[in-house]
Structures are given as C-alpha cells and as structure tokens.
Assembly symmetry: C3
Amino acid sequence: MKRTLGTCYYPEHWPEEIWADDARRMADLGLTWVRIGEFAWSRLEPAPGRFDWGWLDRAIDVLTGAGLSVVLGTPSATPPRWMLDRHPDMLAVDATGRPRKFGSRRHYCFSHAAYRADAARMAGLMAERYGDRVAAWQTDNEYGCHDTVISYSAAARDAFRLWLVERYGTVDRLNQAWGNVFWSMDYDSFDQIDLPNLTVTEPNPAHLMAFRRFSSDQVVAWNAAQVAAIRAHSKAPISHNYMGRVTEFDHYATGRQMEIATWDSYPLGFLLDRVPGGDKAAYLRQGDPDFQAFHHDLYRACGQDGRWWIMEQQPGPVNWAPWNPAPLPGMVRLWSWEAFAHGAEAVCWFRWRQFPQAQEQQHAGLLRSDSTEAPGFAEAAEVAAELRDAPDVAPMQAPVALVFDYASQWAWEVQPQGQGFDHFALCFDLYRALRSLGLSIDILPPETATLDGYAMVLVPGLLTIPAALRTAMERAEGIVVTGPRTDLKTDELAMPMPLGPNLPGLAATSVMEETFPPDAPRGLQNGGGIDLWLEHLKTDAEVTERTTDGTAVLLRQGRRAHLAGWPNKPSAQRILGDLAREAGLAVTPLPEGLRLRDTATERFVFNYASHPLDYAGQIIPPAGLLRLSRPS
Amino acid sequence: MKRTLGTCYYPEHWPEEIWADDARRMADLGLTWVRIGEFAWSRLEPAPGRFDWGWLDRAIDVLTGAGLSVVLGTPSATPPRWMLDRHPDMLAVDATGRPRKFGSRRHYCFSHAAYRADAARMAGLMAERYGDRVAAWQTDNEYGCHDTVISYSAAARDAFRLWLVERYGTVDRLNQAWGNVFWSMDYDSFDQIDLPNLTVTEPNPAHLMAFRRFSSDQVVAWNAAQVAAIRAHSKAPISHNYMGRVTEFDHYATGRQMEIATWDSYPLGFLLDRVPGGDKAAYLRQGDPDFQAFHHDLYRACGQDGRWWIMEQQPGPVNWAPWNPAPLPGMVRLWSWEAFAHGAEAVCWFRWRQFPQAQEQQHAGLLRSDSTEAPGFAEAAEVAAELRDAPDVAPMQAPVALVFDYASQWAWEVQPQGQGFDHFALCFDLYRALRSLGLSIDILPPETATLDGYAMVLVPGLLTIPAALRTAMERAEGIVVTGPRTDLKTDELAMPMPLGPNLPGLAATSVMEETFPPDAPRGLQNGGGIDLWLEHLKTDAEVTERTTDGTAVLLRQGRRAHLAGWPNKPSAQRILGDLAREAGLAVTPLPEGLRLRDTATERFVFNYASHPLDYAGQIIPPAGLLRLSRPS
Amino acid sequence: MKRTLGTCYYPEHWPEEIWADDARRMADLGLTWVRIGEFAWSRLEPAPGRFDWGWLDRAIDVLTGAGLSVVLGTPSATPPRWMLDRHPDMLAVDATGRPRKFGSRRHYCFSHAAYRADAARMAGLMAERYGDRVAAWQTDNEYGCHDTVISYSAAARDAFRLWLVERYGTVDRLNQAWGNVFWSMDYDSFDQIDLPNLTVTEPNPAHLMAFRRFSSDQVVAWNAAQVAAIRAHSKAPISHNYMGRVTEFDHYATGRQMEIATWDSYPLGFLLDRVPGGDKAAYLRQGDPDFQAFHHDLYRACGQDGRWWIMEQQPGPVNWAPWNPAPLPGMVRLWSWEAFAHGAEAVCWFRWRQFPQAQEQQHAGLLRSDSTEAPGFAEAAEVAAELRDAPDVAPMQAPVALVFDYASQWAWEVQPQGQGFDHFALCFDLYRALRSLGLSIDILPPETATLDGYAMVLVPGLLTIPAALRTAMERAEGIVVTGPRTDLKTDELAMPMPLGPNLPGLAATSVMEETFPPDAPRGLQNGGGIDLWLEHLKTDAEVTERTTDGTAVLLRQGRRAHLAGWPNKPSAQRILGDLAREAGLAVTPLPEGLRLRDTATERFVFNYASHPLDYAGQIIPPAGLLRLSRPS
Ligand SMILES: [Zn+2]
Ligand SMILES: [Zn+2]
Ligand SMILES: [Zn+2]
C-alpha cells in the first residue's frame, strides 16, 4: 500500500464558492484524503428530524470530483443544542456531581441509552446516503478527550448497576468479590450501590475498579452501535481517531471493531502535560522524541492487521496547550516521516485552513484563514514530493515487544500505593530506554497469544497475566522480562492466594511492597537506582542486581527475568541493554535526541535535537532525518 | 485646590459619648474629610421600612460641628440579613454553581433588578435627607472586591439573554458573530443560551467575551442607578472607591458617571498576590515601587477632569493579605506624598480606630482600639504639618502616555494562548520600565481621541483599536509604540479580515503567533529577551531588533514602532529608553528602589528601598523622599 | 502495672476454622490484648433489628479461651448501608455543600441525633451482652479521621442554632458578642444564622470560632452517649483510639469521660503530611523523632491518672500515605519502647493479619494474608521477650511542662493573621527544641490548676489564659514562659480591653502584631531569628533578646519570660536551653536523630538516624536504643 497524505476540512465553515479551489489546492499539494463532517450535526439536522443533506452532497461532489477520497465522520461528538431538549439528562456529570454543560463539545454521557441510539441512527442515515461515495468512515471524534469517559450521571449509575448484575449475578457474590465485610460495606441489593465518588475517604478499590471497567465498556458499546449502523449500509473501512495518552477505555477493544486505527498527533500540544518525564525544555519546538513513536506502535496494535493512520497531524502552533510554540522548521516533515517509519498508511494534517472564530481560532492550519499558505504548507509539500518515490508501507515485526494494558492503568490509578505509580509512565520509561538503545518495538495487548519471533518481551506492571498470555510467555523463546508490580493482584484488584507474582518460569513471591518519594531513590550496587517502587521477593532464582542495602532487584532464571523495582533512566538503559545483547540484538546506544526506526526495508534516523547530531559519520541537521536502506 | 487629608470612621461601632472627642482629635490632626456610613444599613433600616436616622443625624452634627467635611457612603455593599428574605435569589453564584452566602459583605448579584432598585431607593432616601449636609458621596464600596463582578446566578443568566438580544437582535446574527457553526454550537433561540460555565471544555471565546462585557455593563448600570438617585436630591460630588488590580468592569465607564474617582491603596496588602512580578522580598514593608503609582495614574484617568483621591490608605498592618507585616517607618508618609505627586486631591486613612471585633480586628487604624495612638498616627501628623506650606494640587500632562483597556484584559483572560498573557501585567511591565527611566506617565482609556502633547504613546496588547484612537494615532506627533498583540482581533474576539494588525502608519501582518513558557525566553541579538509571546510579522518596515534566530521583534516606520513580543526587563528598559531619547525626553535611569514623579511645579524623589540611596548627590534615607522644584 | 502488648483482629474477616490457631499464635507471641468488633456492624445487625451475635460470642470464647483479654469496639464508625435508609440525612456534608457518601467509613454527621441514638443503642446492646466478658471497651474508631468532625449538614445547622441559643440566650447578645454591627451582619433571630461556609469573603471570626467550639462539643456529646450506654452494663474501662494531629475536637474533654486514652501511631504514615517541619528525607523509614513522643505526652494528659495505650502501632508499610516505605529494621521495636518510655501501659499492633481485599489490602500486619510471618513479626517477638524482665510502667512527672490547647488551635486556624500561624506547629516546634536538649516533657491542658513541681512551664500561643491556669501561673515556682501570641484575645476571638496580653507577673502590652513570610525571618542580635510572627510590646520589663532592628523579643521579669515572636530552630534551642539551665535543669544537647526519655526509674536513649550515633561513649546502631537506669 502506498504511503499517502491528507487533511481535515470543514466545508460548512466556508462559503461554497471556495470549495472547488480548496479541493484543487489539496490535490495539487499531493493529498489523497480529506476528512469531513465530524462536527457538522447542527448543519445536517438543524432541527429534530429536519435534515439538510444538500450541502454535504455538494461538498462530497466537489472533493471527489477533484480526485480526493473522502473520510466521513459521524457527528456524535457535537450533538446540537436541541438534542438537550430531547434528552435533558444526557450530559455527563463530573466527580463533584455537576453536569458538564453544553457550549463546547463532547457534551454527552456514554451511558445515556437514548442519545446513544440517536447517535447511531444518525450514523446509519449518513451511511445509507453516502455509503458508496466515501472511502472510509470515522466514528465520533477523540473518545475520551476532555476527560469524558468517566461520568457520574444518573444514567451511568443505572447502567453500572445493570453491569454489576451481569458481572456478579447476586449481591452476595459482589460483596465477597469486593471484600465488603471489611468496613461493613455490604450491600443488600444492587440498587443500593452508588457510583464511587464523594465517599468520605477512598472507596473500596474493587468498587472503583469495577466502575473503571464499566466505564470502558460503555465506550466500547457506544462505538459498537455506530459501527453496526454504518456496516448495515457501507463496505468502506471504519476508523476512530484516538488521542495521545487517553487511557480511560480499552482501545484494543474498540480497535477490534474497526478496520483502521487512527490517532491525532500533537507533538507540541502534548509535550508539557501528557509526556511522563523527559527534558521538556530541550524539546519545546520539537516534541518529545519518544511520545509519538510510542503511540504509533500502540495504535498499530489497535488496527486490524496493524493498519493505522495519523488522522490529525499538527502543522504549526495549536491553541490548547499551556503554551503554544511554533514547531522548529523541519519538524512538520520529520513528524510525518516518523509516522511512516512506524508503518502509517496515511498522515493527514489538521486542519486545511485556520478558522478565524471560536475555540480553535489560534490553531494553525496548512492555510491561514485568509487562504494564504501557513508555514507548515511548504513542509507538507516537501513530504508529498518525497513520497513520490518512497517505498510502500512495509510493516515489520519488531525484535522487541512490550505489553501495554489499559486495565492495569486503571488498577494502578485506583491503587497506586505511592503517588505516581502509573502503568503508562512505567511502560513509557522502559520504551524510552529501549528506543535510546536503537531498538524498534512492537506494543502488544494483554490478549496476545503468541510471542513468536520476539527476541525480548517486556511485561511490566501487569495487573494479572491472562491465561493466553501466560501460555505464550511459557513458550516464548526470547527473553521475557516481567515486573515491577506484575501479577500481584487478581482481576478484582485483590491479593491473590497464593500470593503473587505467579510468574511462568521464575519462582518468586512478594513478601512486602514499598513505595518512596521521587527524591528518595534506592541506589543499586551496579549503579543507577530504583524509583518509587520496590517489591521484596522471596525467591530461589539468581539475583543479578541488588540495592545498596542488599534487596534483590533483578532476578534471573534461564531466559526469564524479573524486575523488583522501577529502574531509573541509567539503570534501565544498562539493564535492558545487557538483556538485549544477551537476546542477540544489535544495540546502538544513541545520543540524546537521536532516534532510529526500522521497517522491513528501510532504516530511518531522526534528529529531534535543536543542534546537529552525527549518525555513523553523517551529520543530521536539527529537525533533520536520514532515510537509509535497512541494514541486513 | 489644596491638598487635603481625611479618614474613614464608623460612628455606629462606638458609643455616642466618644464621637465628639474623636471629631476633635481628627480636626486637631489636620484632617479635612471623614467618610462614614457605607456599611451601616442594618442600623439605618433595622427592619424593612423601619428607619433609624437619628444616630446618623447626630453623628453628622458632631463631625461637621468639629469642622470636618463628611463623605457619605451608600450602604449597598452590606444589605441586612432581612433583605435576603425579600430577595432569596439576590445572591451571586460562583462558577461552580454555588450561591455565595450571607455572613460577610458584597453578598449580592449585580444583575438582580429588585435588589438593585432597593439599593438605589436607599441611596435616594439618604440623599434626600443629607443632600445638603454632606460634602461628597460615595456609592457602595469597592465594586468587584472578593471577585464579585462575575456571577452565574439565574438573575445573571436572564439578564445576559436580554443583553444578547440587545446586542445581536437575532440569534442567527449571534451564531454568525460567534462562529457557532464550529462545533455545532448553533442556537435556535436566545433562551437556549446559558452562562459560559461548567462546559465540558472551554466555551466559545466569543461567548465568554460577551459574558465579560455584559458583567461589566451590569456594574455600570448598577452604579448609574445610585448616581441618579443621589443626583435627584444633592449637588455634592459623587465618587466610588475602586480597588487595586480589579479589572472585571470598565472603570472608565463608571468614572464618566461621577465627579471624583477614588481608590483604596494598600501597598503591603496588595504586594504579594496582586503585583505582577517584581522583587517582593525587597519590598515586604514598603510595597511595590510602581504599583501604587500605576493606579494613581489609572484612576486619574477615571475621574472627571482628572479629579481623584485616595479614599483608604493603609496606616499600619492589615489583616487580609497572606502575611501582614508592619510598614517600614516612614512609609505611611511616603505613600501619601506619592499620591499627592500624582495629583491626588485628598488622602484618607482607613480607619480612624481599629475595631476590636469581627473580620478586620487585626487591621490597624490611626488609633488602636483603646483610643491610644497607633504607630501610623505620628506619620499622618507629619504629613499634615508638611501640607500646610505645600503647593496646591498642580496636575500636569505627562510626557508619556500608555493606553490601558479593560476589554483587552477580558479578551486575554478569555484567550491567553499561553498561560500568563495578561493585559494588566503587560501594561504594568512597560509602565515599570518607563518609570525606572525617571519618566512620568499618563494612563489613557481606549476612548482617547487625541494624543496631542505626548512625546511618546504606548498601545500594548489592545484587542482592537477603536476608530477615534486610530485617528488620534494617525495624527500623533509623538512616537507611537504598538504591540505586542495589538489589534490582532475583532470586537468579537475573532481574527479580522484582512488579518491583523492593521496599524496606522506601520504596515505589518501577523503570519503566526506563538507562546512559550516563562523559563524559555527567546534571546535578542542586542541583548535581553522576549518572554511568553512572539508574533511573526510580514512587513516591509525597518526591523531594528531581532531574536537570535532572526525573527523581527521591533519594527520601525517613521515615528511609529511595533513590538512583536513581550520584552523582558532589561530589553524593555533598553528599547523604551532609546525610543524616549529619540522622542526628545530626558531619561534618568534610576537605581532599583528610587522613583521620580513630576507635577506642574514640583519634582518628587521617593526611596522605596530599605537602605539609603543617592539622588543627584543627595542621600535619601530608607522610606524617605525629596520634594524639589520641578526642573525646567 | 505490667507493660503489655496486643493486636487488632477481625474475626469476621476470616473463616471460623482459623480463629483458634490465630488466638494460639497471639498468645505464643506474648500478646495480652486483642481488640475486635469496631467495624463489624453489618455482620452483627445484618438488617435493622435482626441481630447475629453468635459469631461474636464464639470469637470471644476462642480468644479468651487462649488467655487473651478482649477490647471490644463499638461499630458506630461504619453504619451499615441500611442505616441510610432509616436516616437519609445522616451523612456529613462538606464545606462546598456536598454530602459525603456511603462507601468507605465514618459516613455520619456527629450532629444527627437519631443516628447518635442508634449508635448508643448498639453500644448498650453490646455492653449488655458482653459487659462481663471483655476487659476493656473502645468507643467508635478514630474520631475526626478523614476530616469528619466538621460538617455542614442540615442536622449540624439546626444543632448549631440550638447551641447558640444555649450560649447567648438572645440574638442581641450574640450580635454584640460577635460585633455584627461591623458589616451590617446583625441577625434578628437565631433562625437566620447559617453555618459559616460559602460566604462571599471570610465570615466573622467569632461566627467561625463558635462553629468550631460547637463542632467539638458535638463529638464530646456523641462520645458521652456511648459511654453512658456502656456504663449501664459494664464495669470494664472505656477508651477511644485517637489519631495523630487531629485537633478538631477537645480530646481532654472526651478524655475526662473515659478511663484510658489510646492512640493510633503510624510513624511513617504520618511523616510526610502531618509532621510540621523537620528533615523528612532523613526519616522516611523511621518516622519523625519527636512526633510520636509529642502524642504520647499529649494523650497521657487525656487519660485518667495518665493511663494511656497505643491501640494501633504500625508493623510495616501502610497503604494510605503519599508514599509507603518499609520501616528500617529495628524501628518496630524502637517505636514500642518509645511508647513504654512515655508511660504506655500497652502497645497493640494493627493488624494481626493483612486483609487481601478492600481499602487496606496493602497495609502490612504481623502476618501476611497467607498467614506467614510478615517482617514486623520478629520485632514484635523481640519486644515481647524484652518485656518479660522489664520494669513495670513507672510514670514520672516531667521537669518541664507545655500547655497545649485545642481551642487555641481553632482560634488561629480561624484567624492566623499570616499563613501558617498554627498552635500545634508552634507547640511542636518548642517541644522539639526541648527534646533536642534531652529534656522530658509533660503536656498539660488549659484547665490545669497547679504547676507545682515543674521547673519550667511553656504557655505558647494560648488564646486566653483561663482563671485557674492564671492562678497556677501566678503561684508557679518554676520559670513560666509565655508567648508568642498568648492571651491576645477574648474567648470570643476579639481583642480584650485592656489590650492584651495581660500576663501574670510580666507587664507588657501589644502595640501591634505583624506577620511575615517564611522566607523573610527577622534576625536576632544574639543569633538565630524570628519566623512568621512578631508582636511589638510596650513594657517596662527587661529585654534580653532583640531583633537586629531593635524590637524586643524576649522579656524577663523575675521567673517570668515572654517571647514576642516565633523563634526558629537555633534560637529556640538557645533561648530555651538558657532558660532551662537557669531553672536548674540538666540540659543535654543531643545530636540530630538521638533522643532521651526518662521514667521514674529508667533512661531510654533512641537512635532515629539511619547511621550509628554515640551516647556517652556507647555506640547505638541505626534504629537502636539503650535502656539505662535513670541517672539520679
Ligand atoms: Zn482533534
Ligand atoms: Zn476597604
Ligand atoms: Zn486505624
């Protein structure tokens, strides 16, 4: 499949007279895709049941007429104001009990059945009308953006009770599963169970964990309703555009419903408040060197057969981050190539033209709002030119795999045991260490049933090890690295009996788990240290790393390894580097800012630094990249 | 007009037996003015319609009998408890939807029509009874104190809808003006429009901006009602006592309704949490060297013909700041002279005697609560003695002007684009730089129609340039300095077409605006740097300052200059110093802590430092000042 | 009385089959006490009026059969879910007006009369059934934990009005006492008076202070109801388990109702967010060297005849602190001995066995949840062995006393005048200085009527000096040290007339009080400095310490001393050391981490440091201690 480019366009924002010129300029720029429609409900159905399809018919005519392929979004992220008159209780409710009002977007609760049905009905009507004319679909927009997965509405409460009935059958089983005897928290009926907010002190973690599983399931069910409505009328592939570090729902589960996973990549927008750690001052105009890559690899695991796109790529300053600098010249190009290096089929810029009003008026587009070219335009054109003789998408299984699990994220949010114990951050830290060693990585879901072909597999911080994964770990020929905090709980976020972890091929039991502040790491005898978390293990395995006071940190038994703590940057690089070499991998320690990525046929080298860097004798300018043939 | 002194007095707090002695001591101290009445409603109207004027009659007798002139305040800032039974919905509501309850002061919503009428009725009754006996009026007390301008009550919501009808006529025009198509935010009727709080993510900035304009208009209308009620019965001048850095309503607009602007100056009380920047540790006991001066100049612009007073001047420690140190000996005198140097007609101390109960029992007065003299008393007496042979108030047009605009403050609060972009802070930074160069400054409203007589005029961060000001800028003979972020929007907080800025006499268009964190300034080739904001300009003008990577920062075309970024302290001093010299002004770079101010006949030199400083060979002690003849 | 050990046990959490083995292991470990029952309501009364006493009967049989003495807790801290159906308005309400919901514990408002009666009824039923079989009682659990003393419920509001009627008789007297004239805050009837939350700006401090006194009184009355219900059927002593730094109710007042005071000591759990100041990084695994000691001395003053226990002692990592490290080996033993050194009769570990579910599943016990021994078990056994030939509890009056007063804590929270002025922190700072000098200390209530036998008495930050204490201070033969901020107010939190302080034997009046930020201390001429608070005093007394700019800081008249400010660590050690020597005390300045405590017959030396320390030539290892005979 050819690597392609695209953009996001809002015909309803602009006079119809300029559509044709816009379409022509898109095509001239070398774009293949144009995504439209996802916020247009108030113009498609201005009053309940009164539809105005005409303008969209014409917009699709104009765009396809110019040779562009249309991705059509369902508009359920922005229900019109009249929808609230139909469903006054459709709003999500925040943790303090306040409805989250109309006036921006995503003003709905995923548990509201009637709005869910109305949204699916709208998707169905669009599929019926445009099913043959569009090249792909997008459901809704950025599930979970603005903290919208979790809602404390009456609709959520009622749905949660039904979900509990489904899961536990009887309230006695629920009481037992949650250990409600602990503080006389036993329930007599499901109707007594409230959402776990506003309790006097922390609620039962099992109660919270159930609510988090439920909240994710509601998103999955919501998406399923739209997918079904579209499939009834269209054969075009369906996608959803995910966000960066949104972890409140199981993206693998929605991913299984659709052909393509896409995500909205804002390297500068996400830098300051979504990237765990890292030297933010050094990357204000470039974005973190690993954050985009992590998501590319994560969402590749969410698409069917690894199919994934960037649906929104930042082409200049945005409006919504704490501060909004301009990308360093070259970064708009670099970000695109980093995506292609990770197997993206398409990269689409958001948005075609800056809209001079409303919330995102300061969000750059490829065009300024007076239709002149914005600074990002030239770099888009450069990528388009480079693509002409670039190879096709050539996915490759990476030599290293890392299991990332949404449920574990919820579990450790519910029960961090020490501020900052976060599954995403742990996985990202290890990912970052692997990437600083020049390795390419696959991210895998916990449902993974085979680890064939991986020289090294990391399973850090997994709440539980599902049976299929456990079998795969047992059979794996590569080095399997577990921990810290892997398999120490049951599915109900309780301590298992026998006590965990119960690891395949490595006998170790935790005697005690402790946490400590970030400014009080435990030093390692071999250098570096452990941050935040240390499980004290009883084991007969070989111990190859210890803290300065003798606690075991790295356990080894054959091709199995277990980390008892969270290694800081130097010790993560050292430990994972040694293991990778032992696994037979070519390790290339990279200078700060330089990154590699291999496809089946190519090697890419990216310079995220604001100064030139050397790779194998070649000087790469700031924001520059090398496209090489893959070393054999 | 003679410079005069006064104090704030509460006869209702004290036994009637001591009133006469208090009055005599005030007169002996050399005071002219005594402000009374502004919190006394519960004693004037103990029950609805049952009035007790007797004590106030006698208090006014005693005070005027001692030769004092009375300023009478209307008591609407403290409605009695029974008023809530009449108007249970009169309370303001905070942004989270909670009523702001009775039990302190300012417990009312400016939009509540019935309470507004009751408050105006009370003002009318007082004017009817005392219209001939008092020397001046004060409406209410400290509008906006305790964040009381903005209210999310039902009264506010209903009034906002009417205000929108007035402004837009039809809801279609509103939808277009706000760009509501953006996220399907279109309204079908004005009744659907809610206040812009508690939305899922940020509301439409146009919606917010309308609400901010509306909220200011409600204060203006509220004050108008009381002014009208007073004017019907009294010829005495009317005033209101403004606060420091309260920017939620347009003080120029209320100012146009009344003869005198006054303000309540608490140099130590305001230091820690209202002064942008500065070396707070150095001025804990002196107050910021520029903050009072800025407000003196601002409120001079709010009084008719520049008439302004200090209605409340801190005479010792207060009770309400995060910490409450005692003024350095000498500062009570220095603050008074700084006010007179800026043209104050009167300086009144708050309060005559410390009240030993309730919220402000730790707030010093001129007397302690046992009627002995507090530390500030002696300094007040010193000022009174000095005033005897001091010149009259002699206002002078300053050589430099700076336009400060309340609507711009709201605009950049609504849409900072980078945390900390604040119109007040920007203006204050530039004001501070001018003052550190020894310059005297006038602050001007955006309604200014002539700039005659100014050698230099600064127009920083103005949302839009109103037509009259634009004409004045075109005609100005002095150097006019615009930017950063001047004229980049329309009145509706949208991007203008053609894109801004559209400056008189300086052709430049912004291609891109970016912001960056305070710890990441952009260096200038000539030294110093740019903080927070940088607009990238397309221009044919001469560029006389650039960032180290070449972006234009100072554009020049004849006597017009434009700043593309927010200069930090050293670059602001350098750039404005050079421009001032070019404008023919005498620039006197001052050591940290020393400040100058000229009137028509005098030059004042103030030492805010806690160590002696030298001015032209004279040593000024800490908290000391020089009163010189003005250099010709 | 022998020093004894115990543990907290929850038979309802475990299969009945293992109770006997548990009981045997407790006895074998050397434990005397087992506390049970305090969270078991849902299992004792599964439905309203349907009781299941059988399991508790059998559990008590098993435990007493093994030779253990049972402490039985009333379960009112965890009302079952059905209780909310009986009393839907029984929940406490937070300061923002939101009910604090079911789902954890302590979900009740102390002012709810009907739930209070139900809880007392339950206590009575338990006393009736088990009055002869248990060795001691515990009422409820950890009053005030999770900020549960203060509630803004309707029940609290109604009870507050009745309390006000009781205190003031007429609303006019209340208006006068509070100074409500100040801002027209006068009330016409008690029914108009609301709780002091959500006011526009700070409420009247007298209003807040009354609410704080009321809130404390509600806890005292609540406890009285249970004590009365138990006393009707049982002669066993009654206790309550207090917490660390919970100051919202008067523990002396509840203490007077019961024989024994106990507290729950979590040295690591409390370190990071309850200990004022100190070097937290140095004590992450040991706990603060003075925080436990302070509470030992405080709660000794709360028990009748000084009887006190540790009811819950941390045996390993807990789950609820910001981070939860493991104790340094040795600390579980050291903490126990520190308690015995301060006169504890018993030390009980919480809990016997880690519960693998619910909120505290990560809270270590003496056993792990699989019944194997946790790391703390061996240290408990070591203490048990050491106790066999240790002396009995031998209380001794300490040479130094310090008055700590709950009402003063409330007063300065209501009116700190500078952020951080806190009675507890002030007392703790001075306590820490005394202890760093090797002194043993008694803490005294403000109701103290004699100071006989104390060589030195500290009375810092007392709101008022009650009459009996005043007489005792007049008669005291030791050195009495007052201030800072002692006796500067009336009971109504107003300024007294004549102005304060009015100290016995030391003539000084405050002219002005000022506060300053922590980073701006005032230096002393003799070294060290004053933090935060300085009262400027008019006095004829001798001044022996002054600030560098001459303000009096230490006043002396005979054996009376007064501190005008809050001395920082070095000046507190110097000033108190000099006064102690003058009082004839043996002062032993100790290295950081080393602490002494004397009983009538013994001297204990504790090493809280993580490195060895020398005491009089003996090397004490980290977490080690010496048990010496008391020097004569
Ligand atoms: Zn987006
Ligand atoms: Zn005031
Ligand atoms: Zn406890």
